[in-house]
Structure formats: structure tokens, C-alpha cells
């Protein structure tokens, strides 16, 4: 994802769109802690999905989002790219059944 990072404060999170999409959370040194997906079951899309995760992950200080209707495939792609770059999923992501393998090159 190439979007700009924002600070995890109430004002920035409240300003997030209610659309579906994907998001990333990072800690102060910039390590990606979590890659999430705001699917069509979330009440207020990215806004509620980011808020929920930020509340759960204490060391998350910044987030970035991407609005996309292809949220499932984009989410899996981001996870696969992360594994290709770092050898593992972000710390706060659980194993994903049937996650594929990418070598973006």
C-alpha cells in the first residue's frame, strides 16, 4: 500500500470513510503490526474496523487505509506481499486459511 500514514487519534479515525476496504496499523518505529479488511459486515466500513483494531492493539500509533470494493483479494495480496518481504505475517494477524504465496520481484 502506498497511501500516507495518519496518526491514530479520535479525530483522524472519525474522519475515515464508511466504505469497505483495507487498512494497515503500525507502531512508532514504523513496523506494520496488522493488516485488516473492512468487509461488508462492518457497520461503518473502514471507520469502525480501524477504530476497533486500534482499541485492541495498544502499540498501534498510525494507520493508513485504501478504499476498495475488491477488499478480499486486496487484503490477501497485502498479506502475501508482507510475507514475501518479511518472512511472516504482521505480529497481530492470525493465520489465514489457504493464504497463497507471492514473489513480487
Amino acid at each position: 500500500m502506498t497511501k500516507a500514514w495518519s496518526t491514530c487519534d479520535a479525530v483522524s479515525i472519525d474522519a475515515l470513510p464508511g466504505q469497505v476496504g483495507v487498512f494497515e496499523l503500525a507502531n512508532a518505529p514504523g513496523e506494520t503490526l496488522y493488516i485488516g479488511c473492512a468487509d461488508a459486515r462492518t457497520l461503518f466500513g473502514l471507520r469502525s474496523a480501524v477504530r476497533e483494531r486500534v482499541d485492541e492493539i495498544e502499540d498501534a500509533v498510525s494507520f493508513r487505509v485504501e478504499v476498495t470494493t475488491a477488499y478480499h483479494s486486496r487484503w490477501r495480496e497485502l498479506l502475501m506481499v508482507h510475507v514475501a518481504d518479511h518472512g511472516a505475517l504482521p505480529r497481530h494477524n492470525e493465520e489465514v486459511a489457504g493464504l497463497g504465496r507471492l514473489s513480487p520481484g
Binding site: 468487509d39 461488508a40 478480499h72 486486496r74 495480496e77
Partner: protein
Amino acid sequence: MDLQLSEEQELIVGMVRRFVRDEILPLELDLDPDADQLAPADSQRLIAKTKEMGLYGLGIPPEFGGPDVDLVTRTLLAIEMAQHRAGLYAPCYGVFGGAGLAQLFEADDAQKEKYLYPTLRGEMRGFFGLTESSGGSDPARAIQTKAVRDGDDWIINGSKIFISGADRADYGLVFARTDPEKGRNGITCFIVETSWPGFHVRRVVHTLRSAHYATELQFEDLRVPHANVLGEVNKGFAIANDRLSRQRIPYAAGCIGVAVKANELALEYAGQRETFGALLSSRQSIQWMLVDNEIDIKTATWLTLEAAAKADRGEPFRKEAAMAKLVASEAGGRVVDRSMQIFGGYGVTKDFPFERWYREMRIRRIGEGPSEVQRHVIARDLLGASLR
């Protein structure tokens, strides 16, 4: 052709219809509307059920352990299995099993041991790698991926696009040019393992489809043993063509299943929704949409069952399969569109399945040979091979 179902067909179709109603639809209520897989525990539980029903691995020929069910019956079942939100590309979320890559039934014994049987047991997955960025409608001319002989091996260089499921596959069929002078008679099919050096899945290709995204592949000096040539060198195009013809019948059936369900929902809604003091179903313009749905579904069903019946009788069915695929994918699109219109604003929300069907059905006019290519196949059959 007699379209009266036999007692056995009625029974088995009824069984699958109840399975979709009682097992799949309730689970789907809790899934994200774009989901393409069940939770592993649900999946395993339902696979055990379909095995108990004797219907697991429907596409597998009986000599390889699949149930002995003719293609007409399998087509009727495929129509049933598609009647839910994810049904077009993930019918019953795969719990009836799959046959994997049909070409592998033609593999030699060693290849069957290594790839086919583990696939049928659900231990391995494959992908089908034909299309390249240079064009998928006419792969015989468009394929640029090259394979060059090097002792007991072949070295493959090139790329593929729109390849479904390659990132999750253990192996795949890759079509490469082995004799640049010979056109369609210079293409070979290789079984390639995804863990081999030089095999890369470069990116996910996002499309309108929620289920099973596509990928882009690159081969960099990918070394493949000669033993992994499927069929004969330079005869790969026949293998690709054969699969495409066979696939067209279940492909058409999936479109019909979704159309049946969309129409069923539209009929029900039109009978409940009132506007301007009367039910939608009392309006002639709405009635005509439902009538056109019915005609589209019937036409597509007849053509598809006719193609299946011909294949069952061992007669040539290429033209009929092309007609079935063409008509079912185009009719399916129209039925979903009309049904969506009857639902008004609700039709385009993710609260109902139409928006997903609308997106995914659009791909059916392109995938597995676009409508224009089906017309080309039919024209060739009518006018002779001079059209090539």
C-alpha cells in the same frame, strides 16, 4: 430429446436442492457477502456429508473413483449447486469436491501418481496457465512463452496473466511454444511445480470477481524435466482445446443456476412489493421482465442439457457446448439485471446477492472463451475449417 427427469434424477436433484437450502444458505447468512470459502470446520463437516450422499468428486470419472453419474445429471446438479450467493464461482463452497485439472486424466502413470491422485484426494491443487498478455482468445497465435530443450530438461521463459489460483497451487499446466515455426502445432503443455526456482507469482489481478482472484506469473529460466511434458511435444494445443470444450457445459450450468435463483427471488418480491397502490406483479412491464427471465432460463437450460446429452452419447458436442456457454452466460446476465431492477435500490446493495451475481456474471461472457470466440467456434462448425 426427452426432458422428463428419471426417478433417480428427481431424487438426486432433490437431495442437492435440500442440501443447498438447509446447509449452504444458512451459513451464507453469517459470511461476508464476498466470501469464497467456509470456515474450515464447516467445510470439513459438509464434505463428510457430501461423501455420505455419494456425491463427492462429481467431476471425477468413475474409473478414477468418482461417482458414476452421467453428464446430463451432473449438469442438473451443477444448476442446483450454483443457487446461492457465491454459487457462480464457488458452488457450495467446493464441498462437493472437484476433479482438478481434467487434462491430467490423460497423463502418463508416473504423472498421475505424482499429481492427479494427490489432487483427487484433496492434497494438491493445480492451476491452468494458458492466457498471456498478448491475448487469450487466440492462444495458438498469441503464446510467446518459450520452452527450449536442454538435455533431459526444458527451460521455460515468459509470463502468463489472469491465472486463477496459481498463488495457492502446488503445480500447474503451463502452455509454451516449443516450435516457433509450427503455429498451433508448436505448443507443448508442461506440468510445472510452483516451488521450482524460476517460478514466480508476481501479483494478484483484481477483477469484478469476488471468488478466486486471478494472478500474473513469470517464468525465469524455469527448468522442467522432460518427464513433465503432458501428452506429446508440440501437441499441447489440443489438450488446451479439449479442456475448454468440456468445461463449457458446467460453466453454462452455473450461469443457469444463478439465473434460476435470481428469478425466484424476483418473482417472490414482485408478489409482495406494492407501489402506487398495487403489487409490482400486477404491472405488465414487471410481468414481462419475469416472462423474459423464464424464457432466457428455459432456452439456456435446453441448449445446455442438449450439449450434455450429446456428450453422454459419445457424439461430437463442440458446437453445442459453445452454444450452451454463449447463451447461458448472456441470458444469465440479462436475468440477473432484470431481477435486480425489480428489487430497485435493494437490488444493488450487498444485503442481497444480485450485486455479486451482476459482477461475477459479467466475467462469464469473457472467461473460458469470450462470446465472440464461441460464435467463431459455432461459425467454424457451420461453415467449415476454412474460417481458421
